[in-house]
Amino acid sequence: MDNWVYGLFGGVLIGLSATLLLWSIGRIAGISGIVNGLGTAPRSDRPWRMAFLLGLMAAGGLALFFLPYAPTRVQTGSTPLLLLAGLLVGFGTRMGGGCTSGHGVCGLGRLSWRSLAAVLTFMAAAVATVYIVRHLIGAPT
């Protein structure tokens, strides 16, 4: 699906979500951080994390059953590559303290230099990876 109207609209919804979370309970809408805190944050700090993730998965998952342009329910990636990529994403986002939402949407919104450095780094690493995999190795992903 590539349509700039849906892209901008969805992006604005994501921005409003981050705004609501900061305004209401003073927290940053960084998905990796919210997930990681489920296991390590004080008990009293866990219910809002559960609720946020439940809302994200319920609304996002449900929408994928109704949107005409949702990705098809067919496995398209190789299992070993999906597992390797998952391990790297989980390890890297915890080490770097954020992902596309925490450093990207929220960090850039806060004009944080640290987040800008993270975004430029993961973008560059991802572009280089796609270049190597698709154009040097020629593997389909």
Partner: protein
């Protein structure tokens, strides 16, 4: 259900809807954006632009308030240093992201939406995060 949990639930739902509507759960849309020297797809740029324009304006306003509407204070990341850990972590994340085109939010929404790729990816992502947690604990013990 108390009000902080309800606010988080609604916020999460908005986030999930945004991810689905913008097409970000399609990992090939993401790979297309990252494929600068091939079949480039600008979609992610529109999404990020839409989101950051909103947060850049709204966060300025919200953070001028004495405190959040429902809790005692804002809890913002304390770290400001651009250090090795940040850059190495971001680079490792970027390699994983570029390999398959999933980052944490879209992968979780995709899992709930029944995408088989996400069902394989998410458990590995949680395992990767836990690995770092264990390493971090060991490092702390070594320091002591």
């Amino acid at each position: 259900m108390n009000s902080t949990v309800l606010a988080a639930l609604v916020s999460g739902a908005l986030f999930g809807l945004g991810l689905a509507i913008s097409g970000m759960t399609g990992r090939h849309v993401i790979l297309g954006f990252l494929d600068l020297f091939g079949d480039f797809n600008p979609q992610l740029a529109y999404v990020l632009a839409g989101a950051v324009v909103v947060t850049a304006i709204s966060f300025r306003i919200v953070l001028r308030l004495p405190r959040p509407a429902l809790t005692a204070g804002f809890q913002l990341p304390a770290a400001t240093a651009v250090d090795r850990r940040l850059l190495l972590g971001a680079a490792i994340f970027g390699i994983g992201w570029g390999l398959i085109g999933f980052c944490p939010g879209p992968a979780l929404a995709g899992l709930a939406g029944g995408l088989p790729d996400a069902m394989i990816f998410v458990p590995a992502m949680l395992a990767g995060s836990y690995c770092h947690h264990l390493l971090g604990r060991r490092a702390k013990i070594d320091e002591e």
